[in-house]
Structure formats: C-alpha cells, structure tokens
C-alpha cells in the first residue's frame, strides 16, 4: 500500500517509539488516560492542533464528524472485509470466472447493522468477489465454506442459489423462484428433482441420440445426487448421539464447565473400559467359556459373600487367571502332556495378545486424547496477564438458571477485583513468602508422616488379620478378607480431605498453586499405598517360591485382592455419598438455613477415578473380566454422583480453569497411572514366574517365554510368531533403531517450532509499527479537518 511507504519515512521522527519490545508493551500506555468522565476538554483540543508527537491517547470524543466518517469506513472495521478474509482463509484455490449477470438490486438493508456500507457499488463488487471464489470450488467445499461464513442464513441461501444456477450454466438474473416447467435444473422444486432421481436411470446413445433405460446395476449414489444434501446432513448428526447427553447438559446449566469436566472424564474412562472388555470378552473369555477345562481338584467351598470377596464360586471361573487353561490334555489319551501350540484355539497366546492389544489400544487412545487436549490449550504467546482473556471469555453462556447466573456474575466480579488489585500491588506481596515458609514445611511434614503411618498399617495388616481370622467360620473369614480393602478405601478417600483441611492454614499466592499442591499430596498418598500393596504381594510370592508357603494360585489370589479393592472402593464411595453428602448436607441446610452449602471438590474426585482405573489396569492381567466390574462401578457412580450433586451442592465460588485442568488430569491418567500399571504388568509378565499348577502359563518360567516355546513349531501360521519373537522382541537393535528415529522426528519438530516462534515475534513488532503509523495518520487527518473546517 502506498500509505505504508509514506509511513516509513515519517515514523523515524517519532523518537518516543523506539524500543517496542515484546515485554515492554506497557510503556507506551503508561500515560494513557481514558477520559471517561469527559474532564478538561480544552487541554485535549489544544493537543490536537499540534504535530502529533504523543499519539498514545486517542480521544474519540473530540474527533470531527468528517474524521469519524473516514474512520468508520476503514476496512478493519467493516464487516464485509472480515467476511471476505474469513472466506479467503477457508478457500484454497480461487479460479476467477467471469460472472455475466449479477443482480444489481443489491442495496438490501438486510445487513446494514454497521454504518460503513454507504455505497451499493462496493457491496455488489464484494458479493461478486465472494461468488467468484465460491465457483471455483466443488459442491462439498462450497457448502462448507458457506457454512463457515458469518453472514445470515437468508444471504447464504441467496448465494447458494446463485452458485448452483451458475453451475447449471444458466444466467441468474433474479433470485431463485423455483418455478416448475422451465428448462433449467435450478428452476425445479426439490420434490420434482427427487422424483426424477427415484425414477428410471436412463442413458443416451450418442449415435442415435435416443434415450434408453439402463438395465445394468445403477451406480450408487446416482450421479448428480450429491446435491441432495443428505450426505452433508449426516456428518453433523454424528455428534448428537452421545451417552448421557441430556444429563450432562443439565449439569452444565446449573454448575458450569468445571464440574462438567469430572463427568466427562468419567464417561471417557467408561469408554476405555468398554473397549477393553470387548477385546477381552471376544477373544479370551468367550473361547474359554466354549471350551471349559477339566474341573480342578481344589476344594472350593461355597463361601459367604462370594460376590464381594471373589471367593467361592468365582475362584474357578473366567473371572480369574486360574481358570484359564490349555486343555489339550483331554484330547490326548496317552499322557498328560500339554502342548504349547495346539491345533485349536491357543488360550495362552490369546491371553498375552488380548491383554497386550487392550493395553496398546488404551495407550494409543490416551496419547491421542492427550495430544488433542494439549493442542487445544496451547498458547502462542505468554503475555503478562490474563485480564483481557478473563473479560472476553469467562462468561459461560450455557448457564441459564437465574441463581446460577447471579452467582457467575458475583464470581467474575470477585475475580476481576482480585486481579486488578493484584496488579496494582504486585511488589508488596513478594516479601511475605519468606516469613510463612515454616508453615508449609510443617504441613508437609505432617502429611508425609501420615502417609508413612498408613504404609506401615497396610503392610502389617494382612499378617494381623491372618492371625485373628484363621479360626473363624466362613462368614467371619469373608469379613476378614474385606478388612484390608476397607482400610485402603478409607485411607484413600478420607485422608485427602484431612490434608485439605490442614492446608487451609497455609497461604498461597494463587488458588491454582493450592490446587496443585493438594493434588500432589493426594497422588503421593495413593501412589505410596498402592506401591506398598504391590510390595506385599511380591514378598508373598517370593516366600512361595522359596517353599515357605504352599499355595496354589498366587495370580488368582492377587486377582481376588484387586477385585475386592475395586468393589470396596465403590461401596465406600456410595456410603460416603449417602452419609457425608446427603445426611450432612441435610443437616447443614436445616441447621444454618443456608442454601446448599457443599461445594464439589473436582480434583479429589477425579483422582479417585484415576486411582480406581489404575487398579483395573494392573489387575486385568490377573482377572480378565475386571473391566466389566469397572464398567458397572462407573455407571453406578455416575448416577449416584449426579443425584447427590443436584440435591446437595451449589455452584463453586472458586475459579476452575477447566480445559487446563482437564489436560492435566489426562496427563496424570497417562503418566503415573497408565504407565505405572503397564510397567508393573510388563514386569510381572517378564520376570515373575507363574504358578506351576494353575493358569495357562504353568511350567513356564515367565509368560513371555511362550514365544520361545512356539519357535519349534512347524505350523505355518506360527512361523510369523517365532520370526517376530526372534528378530523383533529378542533383538535390541530393532528397539534402538525405532527409538533413534522417534527422537530424530521430535527434534525436527522442535526446531520447526522455534523458527515459527521467531517469525511470530517479528510479525508482532511489525503490527505495532503499523499501529503507530495509523495513529499518526488519524491525528493528521483530524488536524487537517479542523484546520480546513469553517470556524
């Protein structure tokens, strides 16, 4: 533009504007006065008659009408300009074709919300440009682009009719009338077109120029049928079929996006578990059910509470590892030799592969949703503050109940006041941190002490209960078995509440620090008790291998422990909801006469879900049907939590950056939870010896050695397995090469990102310089207008 060339020579005059760094955005605005109270008009007028040196403050009150007219017709303020930019951004190609007749009756006042559209010719020219761009696209692209243009539906219909008329080769002088009986395709009604398409399919013989009915298979969809719109409609329908959509909408109307994120997380876990269950069920459980093994010689007495404890009937069922067998021995009349690569369905191989495939698919889905979540929250610039963001983006339009809207307004007001006051006295707060450091230390010490105490308790509890319960009857034995899970559920659900109460005495700079600290403590607690449990099991196993304890099936035992843990978690959560939320909420409401006082603690509940899911992922190796139990648990939990939420809770007063926290929780689900469970599973499969008289891997030193056993097989279908085992799994070079490739790709992407960041910094500086020029020119225009205006 010519203007920018002029700007380049003049802008060197403005010495005040030299160093416009990214961090010093504040400095030109230090002297900004936004004169909302209209004080001192004479000073402002006096300023504008001089050369514009300090063009920081633009006082719009004093611009003359001619200046304002010029300003309001600036392209950056016109809506048409923005629409065309949106259009050019979404189209890739724009082949220009001449548009012969464009309707000239376009001075419709339909869209004159903005004042700048003074001339009709400008309007026509821009519409012509829009139509030209749209004609170069295919029908589907055209529809997509039209949909994304921010104009009204009536205008879109108009444009669409013109584009289709043009595509049919007819000049479109008038608006689409839909008169039947004319020869152009666009003049038929849709009913007539549909009738034609549902009729006979005919083709023309080029020699005789006669139409004949086509007797072969009609191509589907019929040529030309794309314009019906049915295929585009379907795409948008996909999103409407989701589980629990009505309930979630209700929750978001009352409570907003923060609490909604907990329920969406729950639904996500449900989907993962359903997938895992389907894989396990179809490829492992069903074949095993259809080939039931020989009944074992273990005296499985009918135990009380077998459903809760997993003993009794469930012990030798498809629920647990011990039932799965490689039962070729019944077909082998001579000896009890178990073959490892039999003719019919190979259960041990299926066991490894289904669990491996389930873990792999879960891993892929987790990484995919993690990357999508991170991508959504990614910021190009880290600017100094979030005030503009808060003002523009914090209003949640989904909230529609009057009380919730009022609460939201109060929240936003409080947050804005806090942020403004924080900005003004930022320097004073830094000195307070040092004096209160010892409180943090004390609270951390108490927390770690509690965690250590719990770990000791969990470690000694099994031996303690064994002593008491060895001589009891079967019902008491069942209750004894449930003691450890009960203690663990108590610890994992009640202790974080205690930690939160302790942390109220601490002082944090921002509420998000407080949330992160409480999450870290919670995670530490759960990780430690899970770790100590694994250690207990490992110790028991090593006792067994040394022959100190004779027991049949340690995998089934571990599986039963985990089953009990998962169920006990659910029962405890339900009891907690009933007592601590319903009854306590009732008390609070009646005694203090306040409306629902309880506030939903999102972080704690999400961490509970993550902990439960870790148990399931670890336990699936020992109990392939554990995902089914988790599915039932999540269903019940959803309905209980939702009812409790609606009855007892009020919308939270604290801020909750929901997308950031959702990303954080998915990362937590992946990093300590899934990877920890996966590492444990791989360790068990690789290093820990299976028990010798039950399960599909008896007589092997480790589960993964199955591959080696199959190497000797001569079956052609097993050759790929032995080849894979020999060259990929057992070969370190393959892993090394894949790792090196992976890191190289990451490095390349990082370098590209750095380059893009540099470009962005440069572009921002350029925009600032252009802005300076713009201010200079506006002030010049104002000065010229006032100088030439008759006094």
């Amino acid at each position: 533009m010519a203007a920018s060339q002029v700007m380049e020579t003049i802008s060197s005059e403005d010495e005040d504007q030299e160093m416009i760094e990214l961090e010093a955005i504040r400095s030109p605005y230090g002297a900004a006065k936004f004169d909302l109270t209209h004080a001192n008009p004479e000073d402002l007028e006096a300023q504008h008659y001089h050369e514009p040196k300090h063009t920081n403050a633009l006082h719009r009150n004093n611009w003359s009408s001619s200046t304002q007219r010029v300003l309001s017709s600036m392209p950056s303020r016109s809506i048409r300009f923005n629409q065309l930019t949106a259009l050019s951004r979404s189209t890739v190609t724009c082949r220009r074709r001449p548009l012969s007749d464009v309707s000239t009756t376009n001075c419709t006042t339909e869209h004159d919300v903005f004042r700048e559209q003074d001339d009709c010719e400008n309007d026509v020219a821009q519409k012509e440009e829009v139509l030209n761009k749209l004609q170069g696209l295919s029908a589907g692209e055209c529809m997509r682009v039209l949909r994304e243009m921010p104009i009204s539906v009536s205008e879109k219909r108009q444009i669409r009719a013109w584009v289709f008329c043009w595509a049919a080769g007819q000049p479109c002088v008038h608006r689409y009338k839909g008169a039947s009986g004319s020869s152009a395709v666009c003049a038929f009604t849709m009913d007539q077109v549909e009738e034609a398409f549902n009729g006979r399919y005919r083709e023309v013989n080029r020699e005789t120029q006669q139409w004949y009915t086509y007797n072969h298979l009609v191509p589907e969809p019929r040529p030309g049928a794309v314009l019906c719109g049915w295929c585009y409609g379907r795409v948008s329908q996909q999103k409407s079929i989701q589980l629990w959509q009505g309930a979630l909408r209700n929750i978001s109307a009352h409570f907003g996006t923060g609490v909604l994120s907990y329920f969406i997380f729950l639904r996500r876990l449900l989907i993962y578990n359903i997938l895992f269950f389907l894989i396990n069920g179809l490829f492992l459980v069903l074949p095993q059910i259809s080939n039931p093994p020989l009944p074992k010689n273990i005296h499985t007495t009918t135990a009380d509470l077998w459903m809760l404890t997993g003993m009794g009937v469930l012990t030798d069922s498809v629920m647990f590892y011990g039932h799965y067998d490689n039962n070729i021995s019944i077909y082998n009349n001579f000896k009890n030799v178990t073959k490892w690569c039999p003719e019919n369905y190979n259960i041990p191989l299926a066991y490894i592969f289904t669990i491996g495939a389930g873990m792999f698919i879960t891993c892929v889905m987790l990484v995919y949703s993690m990357s999508k979540s991170i991508g959504r929250g990614f910021r190009v610039f880290k600017t100094t503050g979030n005030l503009a963001l808060k003002v523009f983006c914090s209003w949640d339009f989904k909230v529609s109940k009057k009380w919730s809207v009022k609460l939201q307004s109060v929240n936003i007001c409080t947050q804005l006041k806090e942020m403004v006051s924080e900005l003004s006295c930022r320097k004073q707060k830094r000195n307070l941190c040092s004096t209160l450091g010892w409180i943090h230390f004390l609270v951390w010490f108490i927390c770690i002490f509690c965690i250590a105490a719990c770990m000791l308790a969990v470690y000694h509890l099994p031996s303690y209960t064994d002593q008491i319960c060895s001589k009891a009857n079967s019902f008491q034995k069942a209750v004894c078995l449930l003691k450890l899970p009960l203690v663990m559920s108590c610890i994992s659900q009640l202790l974080p509440g205690f930690f939160d109460m302790l942390s109220t005495v601490e002082h944090y700079d921002s509420p998000s620090t407080r949330i992160y600290v409480s999450i870290v403590r919670n995670l530490l607690l759960k990780g430690c008790i899970f770790g100590i449990l694994c250690y207990c099991w490992f110790e028991q196993h090593s006792c067994r291998t040394k022959g100190l304890i004779t027991w049949q099936c340690w995998e089934t035992l571990v599986g039963q422990e985990l089953y009990r843990l998962v169920l006990m978690d659910l029962l405890f959560a339900i009891v907690y909801i009933i007592i601590a939320e319903f009854l306590w909420g009732l008390c609070i409401r009646n005694i203090t006469f306040r409306r629902k006082k309880l506030e939903f603690d999102i972080a704690r509940d999400v961490l509970e879900l993550i902990y439960g899911q870790t148990l399931v992922w670890f336990g699936v190796l020992f109990s392939p049907l554990l995902p089914a139990v988790q599915i039932g648990k999540l269903f019940l939990l959803f309905y209980f939590k939702k009812t409790s939420l609606m009855t007892n809770f009020q919308p939270s007063k604290k801020t909750w950056r929901s997308t950031q926290m959702s990303t954080f929780f998915i990362k937590l689900l992946f990093f300590p939870s899934f990877t920890g469970a996966l590492a444990c599973v791989i360790y068990v499969m690789w290093r820990v010896g299976p028990s010798s008289d039950c399960g599909p891997f008896s007589n092997l030193h480790s589960m993964l050695l199955l591959g080696k056993e199959c190497q000797g097989s001569s079956k052609p279908s097993m050759l790929w397995l032995s080849w894979t085992y020999k060259y990929l799994v057992n070969n370190p070079i393959f892993l090394f090469i894949t790792a090196a490739l992976f890191f190289t790709i990451i490095y390349i992407y990082m370098q590209v990102l750095d380059g893009q960041k540099m470009i962005i910094v440069r572009l921002q500086k350029q925009i600032e310089n252009e802005g300076e020029d713009k201010k200079f020119l506006i002030a010049k225009i104002q000065a010229l207008n006032e100088a030439s205006a008759p006094q």
Binding site: S152, S236, L387, G771
Partner: protein, 188 residues
Amino acid sequence: MGGTSSKLPKDLLSEYQELTFLTKQEILMAHKIFSELQDRENGPYSSRVSMEKVLTLPELKSNPFRKRICHVFSTSDMKDGSLSFEDFLDLLSAFSDSATLEIKSHYAFRIFDFDDDGTLDARDLEKLVNSLTGETDDTRLTAEEMRQLISNILEESDIDKDGTVNLSEFQHVISRSPDFVSSFKIVL
C-alpha cells in the same frame, strides 16, 4: 392465532442442514419452539417474533447479553431486535456445538460491540464489564478499578495501539483461551 403448526418442508430442512451447523433434530426442535413463540404473539401473524417474546426463552431469560444477542442476529429493517425463523437458526447455529471458533469469535465480537461501530473501544469495554459483573450496586466495580481494568485490557489486547480492540485483535485474544468454544454455547 390458532395452532397452525406448519411443518418444515423437506428441501428447506436439508438446505438449512447444509448451511448451518445444526443437526436435523436441532432444526426441527428450533422450528417447534419458534412456532410456539409465534403463537404467543399478541398482534397479527407475522414471520417475525418480537424481541420480548424471544427473551422469554429459558436459555436467554437470565443472560445479561440477551438484548445484544437479539440485535446482532436480527435482520429486521426496523432494528427492533425481532427475529425471523432464519435469524433464530443463525443464532442457534452460532451457539451450537459444532460451530467453528471463527464464527463464534465473530459473533461474540459483535455482541460485545455495544455501539455497533466495528471496534471495542473503552466505552464498549466498560459496558461489557458492567454486564458481566451484574447490575446490582455491590457487584459493580468502582470508577478507579474500571479505569485500571480497561487500560490493562487494552494494554494486553490492543496490538496496533490505536486505543480500540478490532476483530483481529479480539480473535487473537480468544485463540489463547481453550475454554471459549465450550462456554460460548447455548443448547435448547
């Protein structure tokens, strides 16, 4: 007016499906609700529903931006905020689940532009903040806080330093917030 619940013709329905971000069920539901609003109109039958009737919808009743929303989406010549059925579909489409960030930020900008001049200047921002914080006296910001707030907002978002936030700058700010798309939603 009697209950002439007119059905939406199929070709029109498919056309609306193509041109908006709404699904077929949503369009039919919108048609149903719009017909009910039309039936409740006091005057003679017209294709437009007056702003007061639109604002009786539960989703818009308590929204502080309800009047601005009606004005932005209205294509009426009299600038009275009345909505035709297609305007109503426009509204729902912009606020729907599948609308793109561009569309949402475009309409959010127009809703926040109280004086309709194409940019957000200090007066627009002041009205915006007052709408957000509510109309009661105890939730309003003081004049000093307002001044500080607005100058900070302009400092953060006005890239070309002309004293106003235009559409591109607004969209740049919005792109930093991952929550915007999910909070700029109204579902019937």
